[in-house]
Amino acid sequence: MTAKVIALCVLNVAVALLLSPLYEGIMRKLRATVHSRKGPPVIQPYLDLLKLLGKEDLRTTRGVIYDAAPALALGSVLLLAMFVPMGESPPLGFAGDLIVLVYVALMAPVAMMLAGFASASPYAYVGGSREMMMIFTMEPVLVVALVVGAVKAGTLGVGGIVDWQLTSGPSPSMVVAGAAFLLGLQAQAGKLPFDIAEADQEIMGGPLVEQSGPRLALFRWAMLARQLVFAFLFVEVFIPWPHTGFFPLDLGLAMAKALAVLVLVALVDVVNPRLRIDQGMSYFLRVGLISFVALAFAVVGT
């Protein structure tokens, strides 16, 4: 039993770490195709990370928060991966793991925001405050969408919600909640029209403007892994069908579905300009309303 848990933990972390740059590479290729460009090779994100990891570690300032933020960001995302089902129940799952998941999911953006505030640059400061406003409006969408599943399944365990979905089939409230989650995914992945906190042309990368070399690599890797883990969470909780019970096949299916979701995210990214922070926030207030509608459905039992 413990051996299986450890093996699954290692596998989930490995998927999040090693597969995410490949998915990003595919998304970049797609972007290039829409741009009429040839684009870099699919493995480019691996090369970028390797190159950054080999560079000198330059810091604009000192301080515990600033020093620890990159490791905290990547570490929290890897921890998150262990609470997310990937072809099998989440390895660290327990009866109330949904609550832990929501908290752990928040750690990476908060680490980035804090690094922004700590890095003594006006652009990073503006980016950090935008990140904070985005977290405030994005996070309820995520939480409410997951709570819909919890209400329906009568459990606060992510594995339990997946099992309930598999046995009872699609329901209107879960479809609406899934739609809200999918709309939120675009912002969780930091893609247009919601890359407001980074906004290269306005604030030069926002919270990351003063990050370089290995520190930037860790932040980048954390963001890539995070978007993949969120894609897994979405496909496993909201569209877990078909489920064969044969683990390698289920894992492969989940990977394929996650890829499809990220391709969709990349397509939305490439055909949209960036919104302003107030416009982004009012958008998420509307999406939040959708998720509350789903919650209402769930409470009355549909």
Partner: protein, 567 residues
């Protein structure tokens, strides 16, 4: 010209009535130009008559050091009565030793930079100017050294002043400063917008530019000859260089009364419109990029390539064609190319219309550009804004109509005007102009007359004449003023690029918007920083002047970018 004549008569009459004997002379050297010489005390009154009663638009101030000729300085304010195709020059000669003149900025706010530059360059102070700080000289440039005076050699390097600080404004109480620059992150160019913000809302803004002056005007009156200047003028701008070489050549042609052959005029129009097409496509891409919409950037720049290739086939270069010379052009338009040109334009037009329709229908773009960066009609008039920025605010001015040049008398342009004055209006004006320019190229090619491409110039260019010329650049009206000199070069060559006028309006446009709107608002002016940076003489950072010989430049150009690569 009859309209211009009657307007000129009216201006003269008004001046006679109000100022009486204080008008020293008033002559019209050419049918479209009226030169009024007044005494120093009447400059403001004269400006009031022109700006308020004649509805004339301020264009540029030319300060000339005439001490070697008359003992004093001369200041010329150039105005345009747009509807009547008339230039009015308000000329004021200062007595020897006098270095002061009345500021006209309180009447015409758009003259602010021109008067600050007048002090920086020539050392004539404008009394009563509301903001008499230094404009374009480096912060460590010594006080009392004026580079455009005749006794200042073009290659002189004054020792820098130690311990000076930038002369910047203080933010209003309660506001903090968000710097966008001096390396402007949006366009990756040297420009400095200091935003005074409360939260994300902007309550004020200061623009500081001119970080990379090149001393081109000074070179024009001291180191270059008439026929060398077009090639330097073309290098004022990296996008619309042909505008500047055309404008300079026309100014000299005006001054010397040289008749340009019709074919040369048509070729100029052709190249000007091709330049407008690729410049507007470039701008559209950059505007998309500013909003994070890189698909627009990639697609418009791909569409732009065939136009660049056409330019290369006509002139030998994608950019900086080197085709203009005084009296005409140096390269003929190869007739066999016209069918290929028209074919290419069919493709460009199809894609341009597709892009226009896609942009007009994109609601997220509306959200980012409508009611953002508003330039009101009143403020645009006060700041003397030109080009698409003026037309987006309901001011129907266009140099191609107001002061026709090249072939625009025969083939007039239809201009697009929008009333709202926001970023969206400026987008619409430019996409309409893009399609219109394609039409103009077609008309020009099909109506192109035969004959010589350059006038025979036998006589020397007569000294001490003034020539004014405007060209509608993609960004607005560029103005060149040439006062001819005796030693085969201008006595004074004054350049005013369109961005110089438009950037002055930028601070008011971003106020009350949020920080996120600044890039697109500034971008919507299509500012060309290189156009405004023509003046300074010394690289202050490295503090040295490097002169490369032709051989060294050729060697650098042919050095492979990486070892082992092909040159």
């Amino acid at each position: 010209m009859a309209i211009a004549n009657s307007t000129a008569a009216r201006v003269r009459e008004l001046f006679g009535e109000r100022l009486g004997s204080r008008v020293q002379t008033s002559v019209d050297p050419r049918a479209n130009t009226l030169r009024i010489q007044i005494d120093k005390a009447s400059v403001r009154e004269g400006t009031e008559i022109l700006a308020n009663e004649m509805n004339a638009r301020f264009m540029v101030t030319v300060g000339t050091d005439r001490r070697p000729l008359t003992g004093g300085y001369e200041v010329t304010h150039v105005f345009s009565v747009d509807a009547d195709q008339l230039y009015v020059l308000l000329v004021c000669s200062l007595a020897p030793g006098d270095e002061q003149i009345c500021s006209i900025t309180p009447i015409v706010p758009g003259a602010s930079w021109a008067e600050r530059e007048l002090f920086d360059a020539v050392g004539v102070k404008s009394e009563g100017h509301p903001d008499p700080r230094r404009l374009m000289l480096a912060d460590d440039w010594p006080e009392g050294v004026y580079p455009l005076r005749r006794d200042f050699p073009y290659n002189h390097r004054p020792p820098p002043t130690e311990g000076v600080r930038p002369r910047l404004l203080d933010p209003p109480p309660g506001a903090s400063v968000v710097p966008l620059g001096p390396f402007f992150p949006v366009l990756e160019e040297p420009a400095y917008f200091r935003l005074f913000v409360e939260g994300e809302t902007i309550v004020g803004c200061e623009y500081r530019g001119f970080y990379a002056h090149r001393g081109i005007e000074k070179l024009g009156d001291s180191a270059l000859t008439y026929n060398e200047i077009p090639y330097v003028a073309e290098r004022i701008c990296g996008i619309c260089g042909f505008i500047h070489s055309t404008c300079y050549c026309q100014a000299v042609e005006n001054a010397a009364e040289i008749e340009v052959p019709p074919r040369a005029r048509y070729i100029r129009s052709l190249m000007l419109e091709l330049e407008r097409i690729h410049s507007h496509l470039l701008w559209l891409g950059i505007a998309g990029h500013i909003l994070g919409f890189d698909t627009v950037l990639m697609q418009t720049w791909r569409m732009r390539e065939p136009v660049m290739w056409l330019c290369e086939e006509i002139s030998g270069n994608r950019k900086t064609y080197g085709m203009n010379t005084i009296g005409g052009v140096r390269r003929d338009f190869p007739e066999p190319l016209s069918s290929k040109l028209l074919d290419t334009l069919v493709g460009v037009e199809k894609e341009a219309v597709a892009v226009r329709d896609a942009i007009v229908g994109d609601t997220t773009l509306h959200a980012r550009t409508k009611d953002v960066g508003i330039l009101t009609n009143e403020w645009a008039r006060k700041m003397c804004v030109v080009g698409p920025s003026a037309r987006g605010s309901g001011i129907p001015i266009d140099a191609r109509i107001d002061h026709p040049y090249a072939a625009y008398n025969e083939i007039p342009a239809r201009i697009a005007v929008q009333q709202t004055g926001d970023n969206w209006a400026r987008v619409l004006v430019r996409v309409e102009e893009l399609v219109e320019s394609i039409r103009l190229v077609r008309e020009v090619v099909s109506a192109m007359p035969g004959g010589p491409i350059c006038a025979e110039i036998e006589d020397e260019i007569p000294p001490d004449r003034i020539g004014i010329s405007v060209v509608e650049a993609p960004r607005g009206e560029a103005i060149h003023v040439v006062i001819t000199g005796g030693d085969n070069r201008p006595y004074r060559w004054r350049v005013r690029a369109p961005s110089y006028a438009n950037l002055q309006a930028a601070p008011a446009m971003v106020t009350k918007d949020s920080i996120a709107d600044v890039p697109i608002t500034v971008g919507s002016l299509d500012p060309c920083f290189s156009c405004t940076e023509r003046f300074e003489l010394v690289d202050v950072r490295s503090n040295r002047i490097v002169v490369y010989s032709q051989e060294e430049l050729a060697k650098m150009a042919h050095r492979p970018a990486r070892p082992g690569g092909t040159p």
